[in-house]
Symmetry: C2
Subunit: 396 residues, 2 copies
């Protein structure tokens, strides 16, 4: 009997807003996003479950009340229960407990596919709640309010969610775009210096592989960025988010079916470094080291001019990143799960297909390779170690 | 700062094959599907995890060995472990235990997004394994080998997966198309008469809402179908799968973002009937009653000519379906979770948006409505009860 060939396309659209004071009653962004499609036949009130990062609420204890007041002020929104408070940070992804907590609330309060989950927090919390929202009823609408630099310019604007499982980072998850993202700059004021800085690593990353002018902007404002001046940080976040979204939207593989993954430049080692430092390193701190490592690799193999390599390491250091941790000097074997090199094995296994790693040909121009040599990686680590010794600087 | 509007499309393609003896070494369908995209840079051997329905293996005890022999005969396939045996039937969806078992095997044997999970079983097992495959690494390739009429002509060829949670059917799941579907007619020989019959309800459903000629075909061959003649059953499965796929591919909402759900004709009550009969009714048996109910509703409200109503009930009975169970006569309240009418509440909540139910204007022509009257539903039940008494026939 004749084979049936099924073929269709699914269109995705979502806005990324930039605002301040998202939960001030006079701020229209959230309510107008939720009511955007209302018409005579489909209208509010819309059910809304809110999940907040406990860490964020520690520095902004008025936040839960603000959320409740906002929903009271807008009769088209029905907050189904007081905001759920959930810890932030990687630990929230380490079991399915919190995912089930969110799914249970979705069930208990009768949310449907046209209801809304509004989550405010760092990247890890957004990942976890995103996974719960994507799987309950096969997908409840998710509005992300990223509260860190990293989440506002990178993970929080993308199409992925996840939790960790079987000791593997992001082992479980889905590709499901959010309904909307609202970047509220106010959330950044209460970040620690470490978290403020950490998120800038992804901006350096995307500038290096895609946008030399943006890299120059970062160089020019490195000191101001390190000193927490708001204006250049807003620019950094907007441009980084824009480049990230542009890649997802136009590079032809938004749900990563192929083997190419340019946005993961510097990440094969970063994911592993987070793990072998028992998450003492923040994701962005690990990415900064990963960028330094792969940029050094690019130089040592003759792909990247020395001047570009120097500028890259200088920028990372000017932003305040330390580019060496003792764990880099552990065993180097692709088969040893405790080894940095095992990161390459896990990277390929998680992404699938042919091993593909991004390197640099110039600032603003990434190139992909399918082979990395262990011996050269060893030399890269030695370079980073001696540079750190020379500078008297080591990472946390 | 300027809002960024993200917008992209994702293209999906998958084949649905019809074959016999899929695991005979000489049958090329499975191996050629897996190796279809091989080229100089991406080639085998391809890792493959196989999950088999224990019930299927009871009637075909040689199946696991056949799978192993098939993979040995094709060096491009690496079966990572002997086939996993998992119970079939709805119970496999009632906790996350089996999902975790499959995910753990994916982790343990190092499968990646380009590896394959091959699952042979009924609709419930396909749903469960599909959910595990869709979430591990954010999606491992899934090849479905549906072994029942219902799975071959309906659920197994579609884009959904799920498990039950919080007492709600299909509460957790995703929309993720399979890599391929292989309908092996041989699996149907060992079905019980109940399972053979049960799957035909979805064919009646899709014929009623979309294809009068197919309905006539079913009428003409009702006796042969009930007597398990293979030729008309092959035709039934092919046409039903084709209509199902055509709807998903061309009706503009493959991942069910809106409120319209024509393929769920007869299903608001069917899902609930399965539950309130403690799954004594097979899905298809419940769908047959659900079709009878909504067809009767269409007639009682003057939408559907009496002759079309009569033909529909006659066809369902000729195929061997009983159209009444005592549970239909339970309490009727939309707020009582034990009531059939609560099925309407759950149906809307699961699908989201405005309550939308398909009714019939004619054989081959469904129309949607947004209101059902409880009193008329009561009358429909009374009609089915008296028809059953008159015929001396009751469902299991």
């Amino acid at each position: 009997m004749e084979t049936i060939h099924q073929e269709f396309q699914v269109a995705y659209r979502y806005p990324v807003y930039f605002t301040e004071g998202v939960f001030e009653s006079s701020n229209p962004v959230l309510v107008s996003t939720i009511c955007a499609d209302d018409d005579a036949e489909n209208s509010g009130p819309h059910k809304l479950l809110c999940v907040l990062d406990e860490g964020v609420c520690q520095s902004r204890p008025e936040l839960p009340q603000q959320v409740e007041a906002y929903c009271r002020a807008h009769p088209d929104l029905t907050l189904v229960r007081p905001p759920m408070m959930v810890p932030g940070g990687e630990s929230v992804k380490n079991s399915s407990d919190y995912v089930e907590l969110v799914q249970e609330a979705i069930s208990e309060f009768g949310l449907c596919r046209h209801s809304y989950i509004v989550v405010a927090g760092g990247g890890a919390l957004l990942d976890m709640v995103g996974y719960a929202a994507a799987t309950a009823h096969r997908g409840v609408r998710l509005i992300r309010l990223p509260t860190t630099v990293l989440a506002q310019n990178d993970s929080g604007v993308g199409v992925k969610n996840s939790i960790n499982a079987f000791g593997k980072k992001n082992f479980l998850g889905t590709f499901v775009p959010p309904h909307a993202v609202i970047n509220d700059f106010d959330f950044l004021h209460s970040l620690s210096d470490r978290d403020w800085r950490s998120g800038m690593a992804e901006a350096v990353k995307v500038a290096l592989i895609k946008d030399a002018a943006f890299f120059e902007f970062l160089e020019q404002h490195a000191k101001a960025l390190a000193n927490r001046e708001p204006a250049p940080m807003r620019k950094l976040i907007h441009r980084c988010a824009e480049l990230h979204l542009k890649h997802i939207g136009t590079a032809g593989d938004p749900f990563e079916k192929g083997s190419s993954r340019p946005l993961d430049f510097g990440h094969w080692s970063a994911h592993k470094l987070e793990q072998i430092t028992q998450f003492r390193l923040r994701h962005g701190e690990a990415v900064a080291i990963g960028i330094a490592l792969d940029t050094t690799y690019s130089r040592l193999t003759g792909m990247l001019p020395e001047a570009d390599w120097r500028r890259t390491l200088d920028l990372l250091e000017a932003l305040g990143f330390a580019l060496y941790v003792p764990e880099l000097d552990g065993p180097l074997s692709r088969c040893d799960p405790d080894s940095l090199l095992h990161g390459l094995t896990e990277f390929r296994e998680h992404l699938g297909g042919r091993m593909t790693v991004m390197l640099l040909a110039a600032i603003g121009r990434g190139v992909e390779t399918h082979y990395l040599e262990d011996e050269i990686i060893r030399n890269c680590i030695a370079e980073l170690a001696s540079a750190a010794t020379a500078a008297g600087r080591r990472a946390v």
